[in-house]
C-alpha cells in the first residue's frame, strides 16, 4: 500500500515525482532535486498533508556504484499521525547538492551538517554548513561514502598529526574566532584571513553563504542571535550585517564590556560527557552558545555496513549506553521488520520489560545529574542507588550491566533467571517511594523552582520545528509518544498514561520524566502479570541458532548454524525506518538492505542529537547557571550523539 500523499504529490508536481513505493504502511517517494524544496514546503504547509515534523535527514549510498546517492527526508505529520519518506536521487557524476530545508524546519540544521560531513552532499542555503562530527580541518573526505576505506585514508599517526597540526586555533570554528573581542588576541595572519571584506554578502541571507565547509564571512558571527532562523532580523538584506558590527548599545544605563569567550567542556563536570560548548558571555549572561560534538565519534554507522545484523547489536549498546537494552530492542525490531520475522509472545513481553527498565535507569541518571548540576548533590546519590538495584537485575538477566547485547534478531540472548520476576516486582514496589521522596525534596524547594521554572522554554511550535522528541517534545505540550501513536511490541494493549507538560521549561521536563518513570513501573507490573510461558525465540531456523546439542548431532541444524555464523542472515532487498520511544526520545533505526547479510546503510536517528541541537535556541539570553540547568534538562548521552 502506498502512502496517499504520494498520489497527491504526483498530481500536484507532475513530472517531478518519480517512483513511489510502500511497505508496512511506509510511503517512499522519489522526487526531483530541483523542485524538492518547493515540494517539501508544500508537504509541510498544505492543509491536507501537514507534514510539520521533520524526523530525520540522512543519505544512502548503495554498494552498486551505478546507483545514485539518495538524500532521505523522513517526514511526519503529527496531527495526522502519518509518516512519509521523501528521497532525492543525486547521480554521482553531477554535483552533489540539494537545497537546504533549514528554513522550513530549523531542526534540519545539524542533520544536514551531518550529511555534508559524512557524505559530502552540499546543502544550498544552509546557514552554517560546517563539519559536525569530524573536526573542521579534517581532510580525509567523507567517511560514510562507499569509497572511503573503513580504516580511514591516512595512517593513525598522520591523522593525529593533521588533527593537531600545531595550530592552537584549529579547535575553534571561524565563527568563534571572529567574535570581535577575541579577534584582537589572534595572530596577525589569522586576523587578515578573517578581516571583513567590503561588499561581502550579508550573513546567511542568500544561498551559498555556507560555502566550503568552514569558509565563512566574518559578519555572520556579528549578526548574532537567531542565526539560521526563518524570519530572523539578520536576513533583512545586504548591509544589515555590516552595520551590526557597530556598538549595539541598548537603551538605559549600560556600558560596553568585553564579551568573554569560554569553553564549557569537553572536560567539564556539567557537560555529561565530552560535549563542548563555546559560550560567549556578557558578564553572566550567555549571549551565544556554539556546541561542538564529535569527540566520541566512533563511526558506528560505518562499522555497521561491514557487519552481519546480529553483529551490530553490540554496537547499539554503545550508542546510548545509559539505556542499552532499549537500543538492542530497537535494532532487533527494525531488522525483524526488514526480514519479515515474527517474534514470539514471550519475547515481546520480555522486550517490553527491557525497554521500560532501561527507561527508568536512563531517567534516573538524568534526574541525578540534573540535580547535581543545580547543586542538589544528595538527589544524585539517592537516584544512583536505585539505579544500582536496577542494574543488579539487568546483570542477573544479561550478565552485563552496561553493555547488555540483550536481543538477537528473532529473539533474545537469554531468558529470565529463576526468581527474577519476583525480584523485579519487589523493586517496582519500593522504587517509587524514592521518587516520591525526591519530589518532596525538590518540588517544595523555592530555590529549585526558581532555578527550573521558565528556564529554557521551548514553545510547542518551536519544539516541533526543532524536531525535538521524547520527554523534551512532550514537556512542550505535544502529546506524541511512539508507544501510543505508532505502537510496537503490543504497547497499545498496555494501560499507561503519557505525561505532557505545558510550559516547555526545565521544570516541566523534570515533571514529565519523573512521571514517565512511574508509568514505566505500571507497565513493568502489567508485563510481569501477563508474561506467558512458551518459546522465547522465533522458530525460524534461518535466523535463530540451533541449540548446541542439535548443531553437533543433526546435519540440518549444523548447516543452519554454519550458514548463520559464517554468512550471516541475509535480509531481502528493501528498507525500513523503525521508530521506538527510547528514554531520550524517538530512536529511529533506518536500515537499507540490498539482499545481502550486511546492511547497505544503518542509520541511527539519535534523539538526544536533535534535542541538544536546540540548545542555543533554549539557552541564549539566560544566565550561565541556566545554561547548565538547560543542558542537563535535555538529557544527552554523547555515545549516541557522536555515534
Amino acid at each position: 500500500m502506498t502512502n496517499p500523499s504520494a498520489a497527491r504529490l504526483r498530481e500536484r508536481f507532475a513530472g517531478s515525482v518519480g517512483a513511489a513505493a510502500g511497505a508496512d504502511g511506509e510511503g517512499v517517494v522519489h522526487v526531483d532535486a530541483a523542485r524538492a524544496h518547493e515540494l517539501l514546503a508544500w508537504l509541510r504547509d498544505d492543509p491536507g498533508e501537514r507534514y510539520d515534523y521533520l524526523t530525520d535527514v540522512t543519505a544512502v549510498e548503495y554498494r552498486d556504484r551505478e546507483r545514485p546517492l539518495e538524500v532521505v527526508y523522513q517526514l511526519r505529520s503529527l496531527p495526522r499521525n502519518a509518516d512519509l519518506r521523501v528521497k532525492i536521487d543525486l547521480p554521482k557524476d553531477a554535483e552533489l547538492a540539494v537545497d537546504s530545508v533549514v528554513d522550513l524546519w530549523p531542526g534540519a540544521n545539524w542533520l544536514e551538517r551531518e550529511v555534508w560531513d559524512m557524505f559530502g552532499v552540499r546543502f544550498r542555503g544552509h546557514p552554517d554548513l560546517r563539519r559536525l562530527l569530524m573536526w573542521e580541518t579534517y581532510s580525509e573526505g567523507h567517511p560514510l561514502r562507499k569509497d572511503f576505506p573503513l580504516r580511514g585514508r591516512f595512517s593513525r599517526a598522520e591523522q593525529v598529526r593533521r588533527a593537531l597540526g600545531g595550530d592552537l586555533t584549529a579547535h575553534y570554528s571561524l565563527e568563534e574566532l571572529s567574535i570581535a573581542e577575541a579577534y584582537d588576541a589572534l595572530p596577525e595572519d589569522l586576523r587578515r584571513q578573517l578581516a571583513p571584506r567590503p561588499g561581502s554578502p550579508a550573513a546567511g541571507a542568500g544561498p551559498g553563504a555556507g560555502g566550503e565547509g568552514g569558509h565563512r564571512v566574518v559578519e555572520l558571527a556579528l549578526a548574532a542571535p537567531g542565526r539560521g532562523m526563518p524570519g530572523a532580523p539578520e536576513a533583512e538584506g545586504p548591509g544589515s550585517a555590516a552595520t551590526a558590527a557597530g556598538p549595539a548599545t541598548p537603551a538605559g544605563p549600560d556600558m560596553k564590556t568585553d564579551h568573554m569567550l569560554i569553553n564549557i567542556g569537553p572536560q567539564h563536570p556539567a557537560t555529561h560527557g565530552v560535549l563542548r560548548l563555546v559560550v560567549e558571555l556578557d558578564g553572566e549572561v550567555v549571549v551565544r552558545v556554539i556546541p561542538h560534538i564529535g569527540y566520541l565519534h566512533s563511526g558506528f554507522e560505518k562499522l555497521g555496513e561491514y557487519r552481519h545484523y546480529n553483529q551490530i547489536i553490540p554496537l547499539t549498546d554503545r550508542t546510548d549506553y545509559l539505556s542499552a537494552p532499549a537500543n538492542n530492542v530497537a535494532f532487533a525490531l527494525a531488522a525483524e521488520r526488514l526480514m519479515g520475522i515474527e517474534i514470539t509472545e514471550r519475547c515481546k513481553v520480555l522486550r517490553v520489560i527491557a525497554c521500560e527498565l532501561s527507561r527508568i535507569i536512563s531517567h534516573l541518571v538524568w534526574a541525578g545529574t540534573t540535580a547535581i548540576d543545580i547543586g542538589a548533590f544528595t538527589v544524585f546519590l539517592w537516584m544512583f542507588q536505585e539505579r544500582e538495584r536496577a542494574y543488579n537485575l539487568i546483570e542477573e538477566w544479561t550478565g552485563a550491566r552496561l553493555t547488555t547485547s540483550l536481543t538477537r534478531v528473532g529473539g533474545m540472548m537469554a531468558d529470565l533467571p529463576d526468581g527474577w520476576t519476583d525480584r523485579l516486582r519487589e523493586w517496582c514496589r519500593r522504587f517509587p517511594k524514592t521518587l516520591d521522596e525526591v519530589d518532596r525534596m525538590l518540588l517544595r524547594n523555592g530555590i529549585w523552582l526558581g532555578r527550573t521554572q521558565d528556564v529554557g522554554v521551548m514553545t510547542t511550535a518551536e519544539a516541533i520545528a526543532h524536531s525535538l522528541s521524547g520527554p523534551m517534545l512532550r514537556a512542550s505540550g505535544v502529546a506524541f509518544d511512539v508507544r501510543k501513536d505508532l505502537p510496537y511490541l503490543d504497547y497499545d494493549t498496555y494501560d499507561f498514561e503519557v505525561p505532557v507538560g505545558e510550559h516547555g521549561d526545565v521544570y516541566d521536563r523534570y515533571l514529565v520524566r519523573m512521571e514517565e518513570m512511574r508509568q514505566s513501573v505500571r507497565i513493568l507490573l502489567q508485563a510481569l502479570d501477563r508474561l506467558p510461558d512458551g518459546p522465547l525465540n522465533s522458530a525460524d531456523p534461518r535466523v535463530i541458532l540451533p541449540p548446541k546439542r542439535r548443531a553437533m548431532s543433526d546435519m540440518e541444524s549444523m548447516i543452519h548454524h554454519f550458514k548463520q555464523v559464517m554468512e550471516g542472515v541475509p535480509a531481502p532487498a528493501g528498507e525500513v525506518y523503525f521508530p521506538v520511544e527510547n528514554p531520550k526520545g524517538e530512536l529511529g533505526t533506518y536500515l537499507v538492505s540490498d539482499g545481502t547479510a550486511k546492511p547497505v546503510r544503518w542509520r541511527i536517528r539519535p534523539p538526544s542529537f536533535l534535542n541538544i541541537a536546540a540548545l542555543p535556541k533554549m539557552a541564549e539570553g539566560h544566565l550561565l547557571s541556566d545554561l547548565i540547568a538547560i543542558n542537563a534538562s535535555v538529557d544527552i548521552v554523547m555515545g549516541e550523539i557522536d555515534r
Binding site: 573581542e181 544605563p253 556600558m255 568573554m260 569567550l261 569537553p266
Partner: protein, 116 residues
C-alpha cells in the same frame, strides 16, 4: 596584634613548607590556564561587567551607613536629642534612614539591582 602576627606567620609558613616539600614538574599543557581541556582563546584579563563595580559602590554606601548606625544603636537608650530624650534619637535616625531609603529606591528604580 600577637594573633595576627602568629596567624600570618603560620600562613606564610604553610605556603613555604608546601613549596619546599612538593615536587613541581611543569609541562606545556599543565601550564595552560584550565579551560575544560581546550586551548583558551583570549585572556581572562578583560573588562568585565560594570555591574560589579556598581555593587562595590553600593556596598560602600550601605556599609558606611551600618557603621554610622552602630554608635547610635549602642547609645540609643541613653541618648537625649532634640530635647525629646530617646524619641529624639529615634527621630534623628528615622530621618537618616529616610534619606537612605530615598537613595535605595532610586537605585532600585534605575535598575542597578537588576541582574538579568
Amino acid at each position: 596584634m600577637l594573633l595576627i602576627g602568629f596567624v600570618a606567620l603560620s600562613a606564610v609558613l604553610m605556603v613555604a613548607l608546601s613549596h619546599l616539600f612538593s615536587s613541581t614538574r611543569p609541562t606545556a599543557a599543565k601550564s595552560l590556564p584550565y579551560e575544560s581541556g581546550m586551548t583558551p582563546l583570549g585572556t581572562a584579563r578583560e573588562r568585565y561587567d560594570v555591574k560589579f563595580y556598581l555593587v562595590a559602590v553600593l556596598f560602600i554606601v550601605f556599609d558606611i551607613e551600618v557603621v554610622f548606625m552602630m554608635p547610635w544603636a549602642v547609645a540609643f537608650r541613653s541618648l537625649d536629642l532634640l530635647g525629646l530624650g530617646t524619641l529624639g534619637a529615634l527621630i534623628e535616625m528615622a530621618v537618616f534612614v529616610l534619606i537612605l531609603v530615598v537613595g535605595y529606591v532610586y537605585v532600585w528604580k534605575r535598575g542597578a539591582l537588576e541582574w538579568n
